[in-house]
Every structure is written in structure tokens, then in C-alpha cells.
Point group: C2
Chain length 430, copies 2
């Protein structure tokens, strides 16, 4: 049976998962593919530690740059991560005529266009299914299954760490810090969780999805990003009582040549499918003009689920190699239209605003005027709990309003002297 030569860069958790998956499922993969992917080189700085998988020591090397030009290798799997050495290796592999599979979302979010252009120029494939959604084949679905659709919007839970923490906060009634520490202990959060909990990991994935859905090079720095650090148990409970669950969402929404791309904690109605995606799971809800509402759900990270998608990409590229159909599906198709990211100030959505205000006459009227002057219509206002030290907690739920108007109203409210601390502003989506 024909063999497809694989070179693996990065022998960490996912790399070991790919080695194990290819070995364990060798028979079924060979039957479906009509060829056998064979790992011919594994590069890592650490070639000593036992990863618990069987590997011929002769294929281990510290020299990743030798792997990407190795004539025995057809497909290079980049699982190093980051945007420095990984970028050099991916570019060199593509230039050497190797096909590439990568799970590296930050690399693609920052250098996607350069990498995709390099692949196209060298007539080789780059597949990146595992860069978004772990085991969820959302990249394949966007590139292929939904090719006939104009995408109306995508609402996605793309970070298992944040979702796990938010779920724990709701179910166990935990404050954020405790839930984070617990997530770190359970292995769901990194020692340095910044990239996850501040929303940057989700933003990287949002950039990739937005670029694919709307055929443009979505600039990472145009994406508005807020993380989950400021979410309090109080807001989670309030949201719950109002019929919502708080989720860190990537929101991608087309308006002609303008696209909203934003990442922030959001109130999601209990009726929405995304509300029932709990713990470390991810979900991507896509609305297309033909397909209508659809959802793709699975484990967003982890050794085996990510390996599932990496191996799916290996099979896809191998099928191209066998059929002589390299670049059969372009990594991305750039639209002729001049698509840009809509400024955050211009977006319109519904808002949840909670603030501590002095419990005295006229305050509610002043707030109502600040909103009313900007035509922000309030769907519900409620006072929450008792008066403490002369202040009460009030929550406003708005109808659809413009972000800049809401900010303007809150600036005006802040300039009056009855506000204590910062207001909590969450957007209501779905």
C-alpha cells in the first residue's frame, strides 16, 4: 500500500495524540484512504521524555529545519505553536513543496494571508482544521459544506477554559478566582491563563472564522476583545434569573461589506442552543441564508479531539496527493468586495448594564434621561437586593441600541455623582 510521509514538528500533548491516533486506527484509516500515513520524522527540543507512545528513536530529531526539507516527507504537521519559529518553519515547508497541517491559531490570525499566499504560490495545501474548535470540523464545514451560503452570522463558544470557568461559577456558585484556580487544578486552564481568559485565544479563532466566512484578511487588531475576568457571581445569578446564561462569545455578523467581529462575555438566552454548551465543550452556531440555523458542537481542545481533526486534515491532503489534486480547495478565497471590520462604536445590540447608584430621589430619572436622550429604549429596569451604605444595585436591559450611544449615556451617568464603582456592561446576544 502506498505510504504518505509525515513530518511532525512539536512532540507535545497533541503531537503524541496524533502519533497514537495514527497507530491505533491504522487499519480503518488505511481502508478509507487507500494509503498509509507514516510518520518519518518528529522534531522537538526535548527528544528524551517518554510521551507514552511507541516511536522509533531514529526518527526523533532536534532539527526541525531539516524535517521541513526532508525528501521523504509529503506533509509537515506544525504543532509547535506561537508566531516565531513556527512561522519560519511553516513558510520554509511550503516553499520546499511540502503540504502543511497546522493547529496554530495565533500564527494564522497574525500571518494568515502571508502563509496562505505562500502555499498557493508553491501549489501546496495548507489545512488548519484544528486551529478552531478542536474536534469540531468547523473549518471544513465553512470551506466546503456551506460553500453555497452567504453567511449571515456566527456565534461561537471557542474557548473551553472560559466556558469551564463560567459553567463552574454558575453551577457551583463560585467567584471567578476560585473557579479559575479549580480549572487550573483540573487541567482545564494553563498556569498563565491570560491568553484564554482575556479573550485573545477566542479572538484568534474569530479572525480565522471571519476571514473564511467573508473572504477577507480580517485584521486581528480590528477585533474588539473583552475577557471574563470581570464576571461576578452576582451577574451570573442575575442573568440566570432573567433567563440567560453568560458565555464568552465570538460574534461575527455580516452587513454587506462591513463585518462585526467581536469577542466578549454575553448574555445568551436559555432557549438558544449555545446556552446548553457547558464545561470544556465548544460550539459554533452558524446561520447561512440557505442552511438557516446550524450548530457544530464538540470538545474544543484536548489530545484526542484535536488529533481527530489533525488526522482528518492528513487524510484530506493525502487524498489530494493520491488524486493529484493539490490545492483543490483554496485555503481561503478572498472576495472581490472590499470587506472591512465594523467599528465597535457602530455596532448595535442589546445591553445588560448593572451599576451601584445612590439610593436617593431623582437618580432613576437622571439615568432614564441619559438613556432617553440617545434614544436608548429600556426593556426592563430592576433594583436588585437591598440598599447598602446608601447605594443600591440596579440593572437595565436595553432594546437594540448603538454601542457609542450606550457608552455616551454611561459617560454622562458617570459624570453625575451618584455612581459607585464602574458599571458592568454585558451584551445580550442570541
Amino acid at each position: 500500500m502506498k505510504e504518505i510521509g509525515i513530518g511532525l514538528l512539536g512532540f507535545g500533548t497533541i503531537g503524541a495524540g496524533v502519533v497514537q491516533g495514527l497507530a491505533d486506527n491504522k487499519t480503518v484509516i488505511a481502508e478509507r484512504l487507500g494509503a498509509t500515513p507514516v510518520i518519518r520524522a518528529i522534531a522537538d527540543l526535548d527528544i528524551e521524555t517518554d510521551r507514552g507512545v511507541v516511536v522509533d528513536p531514529a526518527i526523533l530529531t532536534k532539527d526541525a529545519f531539516a524535517v521541513v526539507i526532508d525528501s521523504q516527507i509529503d506533509i509537515v504537521i506544525e504543532l509547535i505553536g506561537g508566531t516565531t519559529i513556527a512561522k519560519d518553519l511553516v513558510i520554509k515547508a511550503l516553499e520546499a513543496g511540502k503540504h502543511v497541517v497546522t493547529a496554530n491559531k495565533s500564527l494564522l490570525a497574525k500571518y494568515g494571508k502571508e502563509i496562505f499566499d505562500t502555499a498557493a504560490k508553491n501549489n501546496v495545501d495548507i489545512y488548519y482544521g484544528a486551529s478552531v474548535g478542536g474536534g469540531i470540523p468547523i473549518i471544513k464545514v465553512m470551506r466546503e459544506a456551506l460553500a453555497g451560503n452567504n453567511i449571515e452570522n456566527i456565534y461561537a463558544i471557542l474557548n473551553g477554559t472560559c466556558n469551564y470557568i463560567l459553567t463552574q461559577m454558575e453551577e457551583q456558585n463560585m467567584p471567578f478566582d476560585v473557579a479559575l484556580a479549580e480549572a487550573q487544578e483540573a487541567g482545564y486552564a494553563e498556569a498563565d491563563p491570560t491568553l484564554d481568559i482575556d479573550g485573545h485565544d477566542t479572538a484568534h479563532k474569530a479572525v480565522i472564522l471571519a476571514s473564511l466566512a467573508y473572504g477577507f484578511n480580517c485584521p486581528l487588531d480590528a477585533v474588539s476583545v473583552e475577557g471574563v475576568r470581570s464576571i461576578s457571581p452576582e451577574d451570573i445569578t442575575l442573568a440566570k434569573n432573567l433567563g440567560y446564561r453568560i458565555k464568552l462569545l465570538a460574534v461575527i455578523k455580516g452587513h454587506g461589506d462591513e463585518v462585526e467581529v467581536r469577542v466578549h462575555p454575553s448574555l445568551v438566552s436559555h432557549d438558544h442552543v449555545l446556552a446548553s454548551i457547558n464545561g470544556a465543550f465548544n460550539g459554533v452556531a452558524v446561520v447561512g441564508d440557505l442552511v438557516d440555523r446550524s450548530l457544530y458542537y464538540g470538545k474544543g481542545a484536548g489530545r484526542e479531539p484535536t488529533a481527530s481533526t489533525v488526522i482528518g486534515d492528513i487524510v484530506d491532503i493525502s487524498r489530494n496527493i493520491l488524486a493529484g489534486s493539490e490545492c483543490r480547495v483554496p485555503a481561503i478565497t478572498y472576495s472581490a468586495a472590499d470587506v472591512t471590520v465594523k467599528a465597535m462604536d457602530d455596532i448595535e445590540t442589546r445591553y445588560y448594564i448593572r451599576m451601584m447608584v445612590a439610593d436617593k430621589a431623582g437618580v432613576m430619572a437622571d439615568i432614564a434621561r441619559a438613556f432617553g436622550d440617545r434614544s436608548i429604549s429600556i426593556a426592563a429596569a430592576l433594583q436588585q437586593g437591598d440598599c447598602k451604605d446608601g447605594y443600591v444595585s440596579v440593572v437595565y436591559m436595553s432594546h437594540e441600541a448603538k454601542e457609542s450611544d450606550v457608552k455616551g449615556a454611561l459617560a454622562e451617568i458617570a459624570s453625575m455623582d451618584f455612581l459607585k464603582g464602574e458599571p458592568v456592561i454585558l451584551r445580550i446576544e442570541g
Copy 2:
């Protein structure tokens, strides 16, 4: 720009949706594909009725057999349905070297092997994404994205009519007949709803999924099929109070060379993702050894969602035509293993059994003995409601038990003279 010639067989709801979708989304499809699919012929017995879509009358014909050999046509779209003329046309198209897209589940469930073999022999593609799950790209996911996985099981809601009726019965507290009439009025059920509500439509789709997942020619007549006609509001309410929702499920589950393939109403725990799939939506939950739990959700029928998948298949085949990679992904890969469908009597699952029994001493002990003699362990037994005419309704929830043992116990119970009517037997899944 290069054109791909399309011949459409069947100009009904879905056919008109495909014509409309290709026209409305022409720009985005051409950009992504680098070619334009052009409908060059539409065959239907009725070429008079206005379908509300713009069509050059010159391409309308009553002669479907001329379309499948038309040299201007690259891809034949079969949307006629049924297993007679549709079969002849599909076979003739494949033999004429045309690629085929079909949404015809009954055709593939009955003649899948013959059709797939004919396609392979003639080196042409047959794509059948819309045969299962409407807008859900589950066929693509199984053939491609999950190619690296051994599939452990598939639990799927595949019939929107049944799901709509069951949802209405629960939410509106309606009896089956009223919910069915309401579904017919709302356009969610056919005038003759037999194929849907008796489970046969779901069985056709289960056969296709099981064949793909386990690489064998799953025989339709080996599939145990029960529909939803016998579901009563009483069972729906009881299930609800016990933490379950009743869904018509296709259950596909591998055990080495034996595969369970069965269709029946099932109690699904509220915690399971499938429980939240309501109304006319479909959902397919797949567990793979690598991907772990995953779910694909969307509209299981309807003009636009089905057109989304048909157009996705057109794009896929067009990409093969452009890349010269016909048959790049086999329609199905038959495994070397001798896979068979497990006899229904041999399956093991949990059971919900409700029966009307005489309210007198010794009855419960006799029932307990009938179960106990066959090592059927009861997780919960509850008496429901008051005694009526000397009979009470009792519900048993079993632990995992063998189907034949449960049937044996119920036969023994039926032979005693305290039972009124037939027991209701539902399986508890997920």
C-alpha cells in the same frame, strides 16, 4: 469563467430551491469555486406550473432520460425520490459518465451498494449529503472529517415530522392525533405521514449512516423499526417528570463486527444534547474514539436547508472536475471485516415499561419475579395515579438488560391474568 453543466431531475420544492440558491448566491459560489454551475436542463412531468423561480423555458423537458445522457451536462441532480424511475435514471446517468448528486434516502437504503458500485466502475462521483439530515453536513463529516476515528456510536434525530409532533405533544400537552393533524396543517407532515411517523424515513437514513460508519452494506430489513404512533401524553409527562424527553432516535452502535442499527422512540435524559433538539430540527450525535462526543445540528428538511447541502455537493464534485480528481473520496469504503447487524433480541439497553395491572395483593411480587428470574434489575418502580376500575398504572425503569429477556419477562407477565391492555415499552438511551 469555466462552467459546470447541471441537469436537474425533479422540479419540486427542493429542485426549485436549488435553482433559486444557485441564482441568488451565484457570485459567492463562483468566487469560492472558480467556476460557475449552470443549470442546462430541468426534467419533470409537470413543466407548466410556475415554481416562483426564473427559468429559461427552453431548458425544461419531460424527458429525464435525455437529460442523463446530455453531453452538455456534467452533474445530474436526482430529486425525484422513490426507488423505481429514480433508480433507473441514477444508474443510467452514472453509466453515461455523469456525476450524480442525490437526496434520495430510500433509494440509497435499498440499492446503495449497486449504485455506489456503478459509480466506482464508471469512475464518477456520487454525492448524497442531502439524503440524511437536510442542511446538516453529516455525510461529509462522516466521509471526511471523522476519517481518523473508529465510530463508537451514533444517536440521531433524523425526522423533523416526528420531532415536531413529539415536541408539540410535550409543550402543548396534545394527544398524538391532534399533534399530527396540527403538523399536517403547518406543513410539517405529509397528507400520508406513514413513512415519517412509522419510522421508515429514519430507518433509511440510519442505514446510510450505519453503512458509512462501519463500512458495510447495512441491509434495511435487518433494522428494527418502531414509530411514534403509540406514544401517549401520559408517557411524555411521566418521562418528563423522571427527567427525560421522548425522541424518535436512530441508534447505531458498534461492537466489533456486530453493529446495532435500530429506530424507536426513546427516553433521552434532559442532560443529553439531543434532548434540547426540538421542533422540526434534526441532530446527529456522534461519538468517535478520537473526537469524543460531537453533535451536528440543523434543519433536517425544507427547501433552502436541503438546497444548501445539494449545492455543497455540487461544489464538491465541481472541484473534483476542475482538479481532475473524480472519485477522490469513495462514496463508501467497505471494510474487509465481515460486519453484520446485531439481532434486536441481543441488544442491551435500559427499559421504561408501563402497564396497567390489577390492584391486588401479589401482583407486584409476580412482576418482580418475572424480571428477577431473568436477572433484569429494576432501577425504579412507581405507581402512577389512582386505581381505576380495579387497575393501576405502574412504571418500571430497568438497569441495562437484554431485549430478549425483557420480552420474555413481559410474555410471562402477559400470561398471568392481572394485565390490562398492552404494556408500553420504551428504551432509555443517552
